[in-house]
């Protein structure tokens, strides 16, 4: 160390204006904004988001775009290829495939969305209880989850739908019966990690109620993994619904989901392949976008996990 002598002249009082050094000039960036900035940089994920929005928009507005509807039979015009009147052709009962395809997309998206929301509600409540209380409560619930989880979910779903007549409500219900477990485990892990942090302790010290700590402090901080799990639930629910349709357990005619449309088209695929084309492309595109967007979201919300 070189010797240094400090002289009093070197110490000068700051002028008032120089206190500005303590001011934060740059706009403060919340964790969410930060994630959004990272997400915006991921071109592929943003493109997927746009495509998903367009699909949703079309699923809502397509019914006003052509003069046909999804359920009117027109036996004089069955199995038409795509033309200027029927943009996607017609099916074996002469129903307009443009309307049916977009209606199917809407129903598939709704099934995915509702299943994800039910998973969210159940998973957050049960997972929150497991993580927050820990101990005996956690052990019992965790064992229960493990037993439920080890039952092959698809088989249980099929059984449930066979018993309760297929409809959108029963399909969502059946999918949620095992679907929430994954979410519950993720919330449990997050809550366990967070509950011992100082800010939670501080909240408890000033007398915040359990539900306030849970919903104001723990859950918002666990939101990243929860949202990522949600975006991954939607495509798997859409796929599960399509699989059920394939077994004849999907949404019942005249309503249609993308799965039922594909299943109908399969029967006559060698003769009328175009009936298969649009629903198949649409379901694949939707799943693709959800997967890419979900990956992008995970990278954005949790940069540490990025490979």
């Amino acid at each position: 160390m070189s010797e240094q002598t400090l002289k009093p002249e070197q110490f000068a009082k700051l002028k008032k204006s120089e206190h500005a050094g303590e001011l934060v000039v740059r706009e403060s960036i919340s964790a969410w904004k930060d994630a959004w900035i990272r997400l915006k940089e991921n071109k592929l994920a943003m493109l997927s988001l746009v495509v998903l929005l367009v699909i949703t928009l079309l699923a809502i507005t397509a019914q006003y775009m052509t003069p046909y509807d999804y359920k009117t039979n027109d036996l004089a015009n069955t199995n038409l290829p795509p033309n200027s009147e029927h943009w996607f052709g017609t099916d074996s009962l002469g129903r307009d495939m443009f309307q049916r395809t977009w209606m199917g997309a809407g129903i598939s998206l709704q099934v995915g969305l509702y299943a994800a929301l039910v998973d969210l509600a159940l998973g957050v409540i049960i997972g929150g209880i497991m993580g927050y209380y820990g101990g005996r409560v956690d052990e019992v619930l965790n064992r229960f989850c493990e037993v439920m989880y080890s039952i092959p979910s698809m088989l249980l779903v099929i059984l449930l739908i066979v018993v309760m007549e297929p409809s959108m409500f029963t399909i969502v219900l059946a999918l949620s019966i095992t679907g929430w477990i994954n979410m519950a485990w993720i919330v449990r892990g997050q809550v366990m990690q967070l509950k011992n942090q100082e800010y939670v302790l501080a909240a408890r010290t000033i007398g915040a109620s359990t539900s306030r700590i849970m919903f104001k402090h723990l859950i918002p901080n666990a939101m990243g993994p929860i949202i990522v799990t949600l975006t991954m639930t939607v495509p798997s629910a859409i796929f599960a619904e399509a699989f059920l349709s394939f077994l004849g357990l999907g949404v019942q005619s005249p309503a249609a989901s993308l799965g039922t449309l594909i299943n109908d088209a399969l029967k006559a695929m060698t003769v009328y392949p175009w009936r298969m084309l649009f629903p198949a492309v649409l379901i694949s595109l939707t799943m693709l976008c959800f997967n890419i967007f979900g990956d992008g979201l995970r990278d954005a919300l949790d940069p540490k996990m990025k490979k």
Binding site: V147, S150, L159, V162, M276, S284, K307
Partner: protein
Amino acid sequence: MVRYVIEKILYMLLSLFVLASATFFLMKAIPGNPFQSEKNIPPAIQQMLMEKYGFDKPVWEQYVHYIGNLLKLDFGTSMKQQYVTVETVIKSGFAYSVQLGLLAMIVSVAAGVLLGLIAALNHRKFLDGFTIFIAVLGVSIPNFVIASALQYFFGVQLRWFNVTGLNGPLDYVLPVIALSFLPTAFIARLTRSSMLEVLSADYIKTARAKGLSGRVILVKHALRNAIMPVVTYVGPMTANIITGSVIVEQIFGIGGLGKDFVNSITNRDYTLIMGLTLFYAVILMLARLITDIAYGFIDPRIKLIRGRGGA
């Protein structure tokens, strides 16, 4: 290790019991009796059928009888096909499904690991991006779309393969590709990410510093460690291939267990549905059990932790 395996087996039996009970009570919850829908069956014969299947007894007695039969591995008799036991159906269909399923598994593991390896070794280059693209496509396109597209292009249009049936070795090609698409994509992703992680680990640097050849490092040091996550995927892969086989067998007209399952659901053949569901469940749980045990063997760290209790 022994204690760990026994614990897993007990869990498996408990889950099976829950599933068996659930199937039983769910089927009982269906309104009406299963023979009402049949046409031209006079009430007297319906009554006899009810007696034959034991449906005239109280529910708890039926339940005890059902569980007792399951313990004797007796799944019962089909309700819609006279004199056909569930066992016969399983015996006749299982062979096809197992052949297809095992072939698909081998193809998926081989192709998936290879793709993942290629991607990891060409990190951030064209081949890497291409593999990721294929992998995302593979998990996104539902397998009935893949199966019917394959059937349409290679069977109907190009006529390279038979459209349906399973009579010669060539007939296996399309169904196996359709079945292995999703697992291949998944394994490729798993292998790629774990390979990337392993390749940047310190012991790889050490091996390089010692001057070992690239191939030795790759195979002995990197791949052996990177393959670990793939082993955990065997359980879910079995589930994927079973759901896939239900679809693929139906599309390609193969008389395997998946097709029986679809038919049993369309015909509302309750005993057959219950029997096949339990059978599938047993296979899936066995696959998970094997995965758990195999993982314990492959990864010495797990054996150490689990080995505390007994050994």
